[in-house]
């Protein structure tokens, strides 16, 4: 394995220290917990926004600490959900008296730890609600939508809930926005090369030379099928056919799109993917309000990408339009 690092047991701390030095004017490490980062800000009394998850998926989750985005994050060991105490500390950092919403990918470990963190916060008289994000269509069928894993779709759900909070929506209203945004977010990924676990040097899955995994999860969880590598046109066509099925139930034709790289896939490849995505959406009669092409939800040097489609409605569209920025994402308000 070739990784630039010091030692396995300082991996996460070294990374966090480096991030905080780079962003020191905006972000700091919590005094309550070394695995919690928060955005420096004046407390305005809005609903607090917490996110978090295992390390190794950078720039998620701390990359979204920012203006009209996330207030604090709880960070776990490599690929492992943060502990209940870290979640509690993140909730305390985000709390401004109006309650807190925790958004994270829907994985057993995250749900267990965030549930416990919320229970601990309750003892301290802070109301916090958990909203696990479940966008990966490869992981469960439509009838079991709430059981799906969370992948790059996190971005849109977080952005809209955070905007609602920034606009002064109540905790319950923010939560409802989150439920709606989550149920309208659909992602599908393919893996073409594994990533390496920097602690033990192991690859997170195995594939033959010309083989790709259709529907791969971000931790290397096997997807729907293994298939040969085909052209971008064919591959994206197959992915979009699956994703567009999910959109059938919606009358709205306005979408947000994210083409997310998994770590080692180049921007060149991601833009080629997006060319295919946008052509297919246009042909299908959809209007794309905003497209994010970047590597936001990654797994080390894993190669591959995911496509996320998010169906807007009037309310979500207005929330998405709100200006927001962080170290890995920005959105400028536009008059349409």
């Amino acid at each position: 394995m070739k990784k630039i690092m010091n030692a396995a047991d300082t991996l996460v701390e070294d990374m966090l220290a480096g991030y905080v030095s780079a962003e020191h004017d905006r972000v700091a490490i919590s005094k309550e917990h070394p695995r919690v980062l928060y955005k420096k800000q004046k407390k305005t009394g809005k609903v607090g926004i917490v996110s978090g998850g295992g390390s190794g998926h950078e720039p998620l989750f701390f990359g979204l600490l920012g203006e009209n985005l996330v207030d604090s994050v709880a960070i776990g060991n490599l690929f492992a959900a943060p502990t209940p105490n870290a979640v509690l500390a993140a909730i305390k950092e985000a709390d401004q008296g109006a309650g807190v919403i925790c958004l994270f990918g829907n994985y057993a470990g995250d749900v267990l730890n965030f549930d416990m963190g919320v229970e601990l916060a309750d003892f301290e008289e802070i109301t916090a609600l958990n909203l696990p994000i479940a966008d990966d269509v490869a992981s469960a069928d439509q009838r079991h939508q709430s059981e799906r894993r969370g992948i790059a779709g996190d971005l849109f759900v977080l952005k809209e809930v955070a905007a609602a909070a920034a606009k002064g929506y109540s905790l319950e209203a923010c939560y409802q926005i989150g439920l709606a945004a989550n149920s309208r977010t659909f992602s599908l990924g393919v893996g073409i090369e594994p990533g390496t676990n920097p602690i033990n040097g192991k690859k997170n899955f195995e594939l033959a030379a010309n083989e790709i995994e259709f529907g791969l999860g971000i931790h290397g969880e096997p997807g729907i099928e293994k298939m040969p590598l085909v052209s971008a046109h064919k591959l994206v066509g197959k992915m979009m056919a699956r994703l567009l099925l999910e959109l059938q139930d919606y009358a709205e034709q306005e979408l947000l799109v994210c083409v997310n790289g998994l770590g080692a896939t180049t921007m060149m490849e991601l833009y080629i993917v997006n060319k295919e995505v946008s052509q297919l959406l246009q042909q299908a009669g959809y209007h794309v309000s905003d497209t994010v092409v970047d590597s936001i939800c990654t797994t080390q040097e894993m190669a591959g990408f995911s496509i996320t489609l998010h169906v807007l409605n009037e309310e979500l569209k207005e929330l998405y339009q709100m200006e927001a920025f962080s170290s890995c994402y920005f959105h400028k308000e536009v008059d349409q």
Partner: protein, 212 residues
């Protein structure tokens, strides 16, 4: 052997922790087949935290010993198994309240607490291919024991736990990362259940050696 002092219970905890550390690689390999391969790292982290943080602050406070073990795991691990395995020790801590020595009965009632808590938190049942498939039969064996003798009670418990691990090979996964594999998880054993079996084996080995 009918009772363990706080010091002996501590010795047993260290034995369990070392068993997990020694099997880090193997647990990782098992998790890699149907999960994400980090179970060994997680359990070894938790085990090292037990070795570092559990101290006999009071030779009469058995509950505190297990509480420290549970909290050490909870704070060091994260992931699904952090909450689940810390609940195991916290369950025993609850049963050990006001007890000065560990008996088979206290351990059995602690394991029952743990099973209840883990089921409630993780919403899994026996047959879902989780650590419960090993923990529940081991806990039932302890509760059914009439000998009150650690060696004979744990001999059965570790057998039941090992059988439980074998059973997990027959099930599709319903929880955790492997649930997305469904039927494709059949044929592979569950990592968390393996950790439970290792724990039972270590407890048995400890009392067997102490008895001599």
């Amino acid at each position: 052997m009918k009772t363990l002092t706080v010091q002996e219970a501590h010795g047993m905890l260290k034995k369990i922790a070392n068993e997990w550390i020694n099997h880090e690689e193997q647990l990782g390999e098992i998790d890699r087949k149907i999960g994400d391969g980090d179970h060994g790292i997680g359990m070894a982290n938790g085990a090292r935290a037990i070795l570092q943080n559990v101290t006999e602050t009071d030779e009469k406070n058995l509950a505190n010993l297990f509480k420290q073990a549970g909290m050490a795991m909870m704070e060091s691990m994260g992931g699904a198994s952090g909450v689940i395995f810390s609940a195991l020790f916290l369950g025993v801590a609850k049963a050990a309240k006001k007890q000065e020595v560990l008996t088979v009965e206290v351990l059995a009632s602690g394991m029952e607490n743990a099973v209840k808590e883990i089921k409630q938190r993780g919403k899994a049942a026996v047959g879902d291919k989780t650590m419960l498939d090993a923990l529940v039969p081991a806990s039932e064996a302890l509760s059914a024991d009439h000998s009150r003798d650690f060696v004979s009670a744990l001999a059965i418990a570790r057998e039941k736990a090992a059988e439980g691990v074998e059973q997990t090979k027959r099930y599709p996964a319903k929880h955790g990362r492997s649930k997305f594999l469904g039927e494709r998880a059949i044929g592979f054993q569950d990592a968390g259940a393996t950790s439970v079996a290792l724990m039972c084996q270590a407890m048995y080995d400890y009392v067997k050696e102490e008895e001599k």
